[in-house]
């Protein structure tokens, strides 16, 4: 049983890789990855800076599939994000056309998180609420 437990630990250590394997379902793959990291550390990987408290709503995004991603437009909190991608509290980084998600890197965060259109992020608690909820 000890051997199988060891193999199980090894198999479960591959869980982060599996987070990306099946794309977006209820959560996006990067949200699952963040949860996996948090689970390993028994707590959040990073803290939100106090000045960014509030809610970040991903209203939507638009891109033309034949054009480059720089032509895409992202709306956050009812405002169009400028071409630089910079908004108050972070950066809208990239659109994933396959998963239909937008990568957003919040100030202080080590990496970007992908969100589906309509999702809201409660910044102080790092909670995600879907569009229909």
């Amino acid at each position: 049983m000890k051997v199988s437990a060891l193999f199980m630990v090894i198999a479960l250590s591959l869980t982060p890789l599996r987070s990306y394997a099946f794309g977006d379902l209820f959560l996006t793959s990067s949200q699952r990855q963040l949860i996996n990291n948090m689970r390993e550390r028994n707590g959040a990987e990073w803290q939100i800076q106090p000045q960014t408290a509030g809610t970040l709503k991903i209203n939507g995004f638009y891109y033309k599939s034949r054009e480059r991603q720089s032509k895409s437009v992202v709306w956050l909190n009812g405002q169009q994000v400028p071409n630089t991608g910079r908004f108050n509290g972070g950066n809208a980084q990239s659109l994933n056309k396959r998963d239909k998600t937008v990568g957003i890197k919040l100030d202080g965060a080590p990496r970007s998180l992908s969100f589906k259109a309509g999702q809201k992020l409660q910044l102080n608690q790092l909670n995600v609420v879907d569009a229909y909820q």
Partner: protein, 204 residues
């Protein structure tokens, strides 16, 4: 030489010729009959050869089937499918999974084992196939945990199972920085084992 003597010699020659002809005819007839028999023997031999070839092909095919089935059987046996069910091992795996995944809540229950007699056409009813239903109720951090649970069960727990029914419910609020229930899971897993039949006398 008189004419009488010449006629007599002619008759003798004619008789000799007739005898030679008859003899040659007999030899030819015998030769044809023998050749005919040889052809028949050759045809029989060829027929036998083709039968042996088809038998060899069939045996090779049977051998391949037996080899592939024995590999499948050994795999099933190694997974504990062909053995008494090992509930303790299942619960051990589930317990370890719950701890590794740090699930806020994880409950399971296993119903008594039932023998399935109505397996389907082409199968013996006394095969000894048994089914045990396992109910799982868990609070997951994300949907990937469900995949981890089924994968780990499939790899480490003995016997063969399938997911009979599942109910997955997403919480309204997804918490990313605390270990909290984000997805609710309620599943029924059906575990299958085949009880080895006792060997009857004279079966070996």
């Amino acid at each position: 030489m008189s004419i009488q003597q010449m006629l007599t010699e002619f008759k003798v020659r004619i008789i000799q010729l007739l005898l030679v002809t008859v003899f040659a005819g007999l030899i030819l007839t015998g030769a044809f009959l023998y050749a005919g028999d040889i052809d028949k023997q050759k045809a029989d031999a060829l027929h036998q050869q083709s039968q042996i070839n088809s038998d060899i092909d069939r045996l090779i095919e049977d051998d391949n089937i037996v080899r592939s089935m024995s590999a499948s059987f050994l795999q099933l046996k190694s997974k504990g499918f062909y053995a008494q069910e090992d509930r303790l091992a299942w619960t051990e795996v589930l317990k370890q999974l719950s701890e590794q995944l740090k699930l806020p809540n994880f409950k399971y229950s296993i119903s008594p084992q039932k023998i399935i007699s109505n397996i389907g056409s082409g199968f013996q009813s006394d095969l000894g196939l048994a089914e045990s239903l396992m109910e799982i109720e868990a609070d997951l951090l994300h949907e990937g945990d469900f995949v981890s649970i089924t994968e780990q069960l499939s790899v480490f727990a003995p016997a063969v199972f399938n997911v009979s029914e599942c109910h997955i419910e997403k919480e309204k609020l997804i918490v990313l920085k605390q270990i909290k229930r984000n997805i609710g899971l309620r599943c029924t897993l059906a575990w299958y084992t085949v009880k080895p039949l006792p060997i009857q006398e004279g079966e070996l």
